[in-house]
């Protein structure tokens, strides 16, 4: 599962919630890409660096480049370490990290950024991040830059969530039942139909992934929707089915509005034979027989 999530470039959105947290999945993705030898840049906003780095072994930790926004986001201590300009500049600074080879940029929490920056600005910056190439003539095909963003979906309304979803190439929504986590993965490749996949998993203490099968099926309360419902024809007092002979008769019936050749012949030949139809007219006392003067029956 992790390979498929990391295979596409662009923005990978991890939506988690209070019950199903996503930071451990994020860390397992980081570990996977670090073990593949990629550059990993992390912008940490929500947790401290020590807490983020714990659980990784030293080989992984040495590959992570951590940009800390948690300790001093507004640069109050005025040291040289903190990034000036606030969160936006910090994100933009990641754009400039053009090194050859595939790069993974991790935004520890997009929610943190979304609460402090206007949503359109963040979307534009994310697009700039995922569009950058390592060098102009270097990347042969596809994008080499991956942006992993963690989003707490309960903090935001449908507007920003929809906007970020439309921007993302891959969207992973974490949920689960009965203590087992599942990931609903939606792949939105640029010009292809989106594909959907559900994967049950659990994360081991060393941040490797254990894929599992779905939960046992007896917990499904809904019946199969494609099973035929109770046949409504059983209790009717009339018969709606057609026997074979009736079906043949129905098919061979000429409909009254069909302009068939018999009808055409009938219409063509009915011209010179008006003898069968005659009009018998009995004039009334009030009927006027004089065709010339229409006002003859008036009392003027």
């Amino acid at each position: 599962m992790l390979e498929s999530l990391l295979a596409l470039g662009g923005l990978v959105l991890l939506r988690d919630s209070v019950e199903w947290e996503g930071r451990s999945l994020l860390k397992s993705l980081i570990k996977k890409s670090a073990l593949r030898g990629e550059q990993v840049h992390i912008l940490g906003c929500e947790v401290s660096e020590e807490e983020f780095r714990e659980g990784f072994d030293s080989s992984v930790n040495s590959q992570l480049v951590y940009h800390d926004l948690f300790r001093d986001p507004l640069n109050w201590s005025k040291t040289g370490q903190a990034l000036p300009g606030g969160p936006l500049e910090a994100v933009r600074a990641l754009c400039g990290k053009t090194v050859p080879g595939p790069v993974t940029i991790v935004l520890d929490s997009l929610s943190w950024l979304l609460l402090r920056l206007p949503c359109p600005t963040l979307c534009q910056t994310l697009l700039a991040l995922s569009r950058q190439r390592s060098c102009p003539g270097d990347s042969p095909a596809g994008e080499q830059v991956r942006v992993l963003g963690l989003l707490h979906e309960e903090l935001h309304g449908p507007g920003p969530l929809g906007a970020l979803s439309s921007l993302a190439q891959t969207e992973v929504t974490l949920s689960g039942t009965m203590g087992r986590a599942s990931a609903h993965i939606l792949y939105r490749r640029p010009r292809q139909r989106p594909t959907h996949q559900i994967q049950w998993f659990s994360i081991l203490p060393d941040f490797s992934l254990d894929l599992q099968r779905g939960p046992p099926l007896e917990s499904q309360p809904h019946p199969d929707p494609h099973a035929p419902p109770a046949d409504p024809m059983t209790h009717l007092t009339f018969n709606l089915h057609l026997s074979e002979k009736e079906r043949e008769a129905k098919d061979s019936l000429t409909l009254p509005f069909h302009f068939s050749s018999e009808k055409q012949q009938a219409l063509l030949h009915s011209g010179p034979a008006p003898a069968a139809s005659r009009i018998f007219y009995e004039p009334d006392a009030y009927d006027d027989l004089d065709q010339e003067d229409p006002d003859d029956d008036l009392d003027v």
Partner: protein, 475 residues
């Protein structure tokens, strides 16, 4: 002017000499013929712009949208000087196709293009345009595709649904080699590079044009302002508004704006419901329409209306655009499994058609249109429900609205469906039997004997009489 011509005996103006020469005519009004030097805005000149044609209904100059089926639905094409707004489908799969058809049609007709996007590079968009079909060899391939999809079962059911055979067919893909209006494109192939290089196009890619991204929300219109200035410059410099009289050959400017209103343009309407700058998009559309009306250009805009949080904005945007088409794809919705729509990928809604110099607009009668993305073609068809077609034959035409409502609420073959059918038939036969109660049963013979059903009797001085002219069976 005519008075001068009649009264004037002098030979001052050429018009009066012409009028004097024609005293034998009934009227002395004489139309001046076209001057030999050629004025710069004669009607004959305008009609000779490549890729355009005047509308048969109101004389508007039309350009093709790239899809002849869509042209047919819009009443011939897109009028020059108007905006075509496409409401994107949820995963933005099919609206880029319409966008690309529009641009490809511009390249093939020789129009100038202006492509604006905040997400993709315009050069990249142009590389992905479909290739035009310019020879008749491909006709055989298209016909094969058509026939493969027709199953014998549909032919059986069409026998009963006679009314559908009388309906005009939607235009099938018939590549015409030398057509000046409305070409066909092959989606599986890219447009040849030399066609792109031979065409004239301008690109507007927002991240390049905006060097400093400000954080304050009052700069939300920044992207729109830049785009409007860009469009205005192009129109003025290249003389699409008639400002450059040295231009001999007029041309059309086709503007394509992708995903307007999305957050990538800096607009907030997709993110919040009550935003301060909700009017920036309205102002943009208003100014854009002013620019278009004063120049020879046509514009296509795709907008992700499914992301817009405030529904009033969608209504305002539709009012400010001329033609509005909505695409609704079935991906992920419950309609995907509906057998009604199994052959189609989505519905296409023609929401608005403009009334240009007209009191009425040209809305087609057919409301249920669906589209299908085949391998080479994006086709638009009427939703063909076999069952409904059969039923429409039994029911009189006025009852089809009931069928529409009913079918959306009830499934096919459900108990309500069958009882509705039976009750309707029972009522219809009861009504018919009242008609024929007082005379012989209706017999249709070929010999022409006509019997009239019993109509309302005429009461005449207290006596119940047969109506005059009622046919009496000859003894």
């Amino acid at each position: 002017m005519a008075a001068v011509a009649t009264c004037g005996t002098g030979t001052g103006s050429p018009g009066s000499t012409v009028a004097a020469a024609s005293k034998n005519n009934v009227t002395s009004f004489q139309r001046r013929g076209p001057k030999a030097s050629g004025s710069d805005s004669g009607y004959s000149r305008l009609a000779s712009i490549a890729g355009t044609r005047p509308s048969v209904r109101n004389g508007q100059l039309l350009v093709s949208t790239g899809l002849p089926a869509l042209d047919q639905l819009l009443g011939g094409g897109l009028a020059v000087g108007t905006v075509l707004l496409i409401e994107e489908d949820k995963y933005n799969l099919y609206s880029p196709l319409l966008f690309k058809y529009f641009l490809a049609e511009g390249i093939v007709s020789g129009h100038t293009l202006l492509v604006a996007s905040a997400k993709e590079d315009p050069a990249g968009i142009l590389q992905e345009l479909p290739a035009p079909i310019l020879d008749d060899n491909c006709k055989k391939e298209f016909d094969e595709d058509e026939y493969n999809h027709k199953t014998p079962e549909t032919n059986i059911k069409m026998k009963i649904a006679w009314r559908y055979q009388l309906l005009p067919k939607m235009e099938q893909a018939r590549p015409v080699s030398s057509s000046r209006f409305g070409h066909y494109y092959d989606l599986s192939k890219r447009i040849p590079q030399e066609l792109i290089e031979a065409s004239k196009w301008h690109g507007f890619f927002l991240p390049e044009k905006i060097s400093t991204l400000n954080v304050e929300p009052c700069s939300l219109t920044h992207g729109y302002v830049r785009l409007l200035q860009f469009i205005q410059n192009i129109i003025y410099e290249e003389g699409f508004d008639g400002s450059n009289p040295q231009r001999k050959q007029k041309n059309i400017l086709r503007i394509g704006i992708q995903s307007l209103g999305s957050p990538l343009w800096g607009d907030n309407i997709c993110c919040t419901e009550n935003c301060d700058n909700s009017h920036s998009l309205m102002k943009f559309l208003y100014v854009l329409r002013g620019l278009l009306r004063a120049s020879l250009s046509a514009c296509i805009i795709t907008m992700p209306t499914h992301l817009i949080q405030n529904k009033a904005i969608i209504a305002r945007v539709a009012n400010l655009s001329d033609t509005v088409i909505g695409l609704e794809s079935f991906i992920g919705s419950e309609r995907e499994t509906n057998p009604l729509y199994k052959d189609y990928h989505g519905l296409i809604h023609i929401r608005q058609i403009p009334r240009l110099n007209n009191l009425i607009c040209d809305v087609s009668d057919v409301k249920d249109l669906a589209f299908k993305l085949k391998r080479k073609l994006f086709s638009i068809e009427w939703v063909q429900d076999n069952y409904l077609r059969q039923e429409r034959n039994i029911y009189p035409p006025g009852f089809s609205y009931l069928l529409k409502q009913k079918d959306s609420a009830w499934g096919e073959g459900s108990l309500q469906h069958s009882t509705f059918l039976m009750s309707f038939l029972a009522k219809a036969t009861a009504f018919a039997s009242r008609l024929v109660r007082h005379s012989e049963p209706l017999k249709q013979t070929g010999s022409g004997r006509i019997r009239q059903a019993a109509g309302p009797r005429l009461w005449h001085d207290g006596r119940r009489r047969e109506a005059p002219g009622l046919l009496v069976i000859p003894p």
